[in-house]
């Protein structure tokens, strides 16, 4: 798959939703079919951990493995279709000024931070805590059981032909964004990553901006 940078013609003044989400915060929002969500990496190289669900049937959710196997590539960019566990297209990436988004790096948690960095890192804030709090506030009985392999927008986790995996400096930069068009009713769950142990964000988690436009 060629890297396909594509800018959007949508103007923020026409958006029906426009909100900043600081690092360390979770977020949920429901999209209707045809609505377009833009995620803006305001300061560059932020990781935006994201999951999607069908709000009419919460058992149906974004499937990382079905998405990458079906498109034949592990990275997401313009043209990628995000598939559900039932094989349906939940969203399509319609614009992308970053060029590569991660599908396999997952989310940080207190426990994985202990494994990856040190046993005494358990106290540190992490994406799973943000996911769990956001799901509890969403109020439909979702739990850790509903957390599966997420997308990390703006994050660069290359896999080599020999099967090595690394966390590289991001390919994003200040103001870069990705736009997704909802192809069905979609619940968006985001954790704006608070990770302080990983050089991928220069140890400096930063805010993102989320905008939604109604479809034509």
């Amino acid at each position: 798959m060629k890297s396909s940078l594509r800018e959007s013609s949508l103007s923020p003044k026409d958006a029906c939703f426009d909100e900043m989400v600081p690092s360390g915060r979770g977020f949920t929002h429901e999209l209707s079919p045809g609505q377009i969500l833009r995620i803006v990496d305001l300061e560059g190289n932020q990781a935006v951990d994201t999951l999607f669900y069908n709000p009419r049937d919460l058992d149906e959710r974004y499937s990382a493995t079905d998405t990458i196997r079906t498109q034949g590539n592990i990275y997401l960019t313009t043209g990628s279709r995000l598939l559900s566990s039932e094989g349906r297209t939940m969203l399509s990436i319609v614009a992308d000024t970053c060029g590569r988004h991660d599908t396999i790096g997952g989310a940080c948690s207190a426990e994985s931070n202990q494994v990856r960095y040190a046993l005494d890192k358990k106290y540190m804030h992490n994406c799973r805590d943000s996911f769990l709090l956001a799901l509890a506030r969403y109020g439909r009985g979702m739990s850790k059981r509903d957390l599966s392999s997420n997308i990390n927008f703006f994050m660069n986790v290359p896999v080599t032909p020999a099967g090595a995996l690394s966390f590289e400096d991001g390919v994003s930069g200040p103001g870069r964004y990705v736009e997704l068009r909802a192809e069905m009713d979609t619940l968006v769950l985001i954790s704006n990553c608070p990770q302080l142990n990983n050089p991928c964000n220069a140890y400096n988690p930063t805010p993102i901006r989320l905008l939604v436009w109604n479809g034509n």
Binding site: R69, A110, E111
Partner: protein, 257 residues
Amino acid sequence: MISPTSPTLLPEQLVLHRETLRGGQAWSRRLARGQVLRIVDLAGTACVSALFYNLREPIERYNMADTLKAQFTAFLTTGRVLYSDMGRVLCSLIGDTCGWHDTISGCGNAESSRAKFGEGPYQKLRNDFHRNARDNFTVELGKHGLGKRDVVANVNFFVRVAVDDVGNLAWHAGNSKPGAWVDLRFEMDTLAVLTNTPHPLDPAASYAPPPIDLILRKGEPPGPEDPCRRSRSENERGFALTEAYVRETQALAGGRP
């Protein structure tokens, strides 16, 4: 290479259970800490898709991302371990004559099977009907009170899907060989769920998943110099967290300490 059925390798007094899975068949079993499950690719063309859960609290389960991140790898082989989403080691690969087990390419479903092989209905084929991995997982998990919410990114034993420099996936033919096996030592009491069904990227034109052998034997939990534990500092911490959980569980059960 030692034969997978060599009596010197697997003394019969250690063997707890042997079973052959037909092509298309699913399997689940509760496995105790220390036990070792050998999965044998008899024909050299199997895809054994697998999921693993904490037996007592199945909301804790195999986590692809945490497994890969902790070990900076995209695949599994000897010395690597499978992490749960709670920073603990569910099982370890203590032996492997194949060399590469896939973690990223997921599994087939009814639609992918139908598109490739046709309907393959029970009405016509009886028990040779076309079963698929996702439905097999759903059925087998259902026996344990689990369901679709519990199907996460799975392991595919004996499968290699290569990733090139720009991220493209390609099926790697000949990854396994007849008689190849992998030994999984369980580090916690675990529910293992397997399905012996075709991988959707396997170019084989007909639906013909081959049989596999499963051999469960007695084993011991890892000592301080265990190669999986010592393979990297992340795994030393993962085993420490696992052993703390085992002690916690024993205390709750009224055992020592």
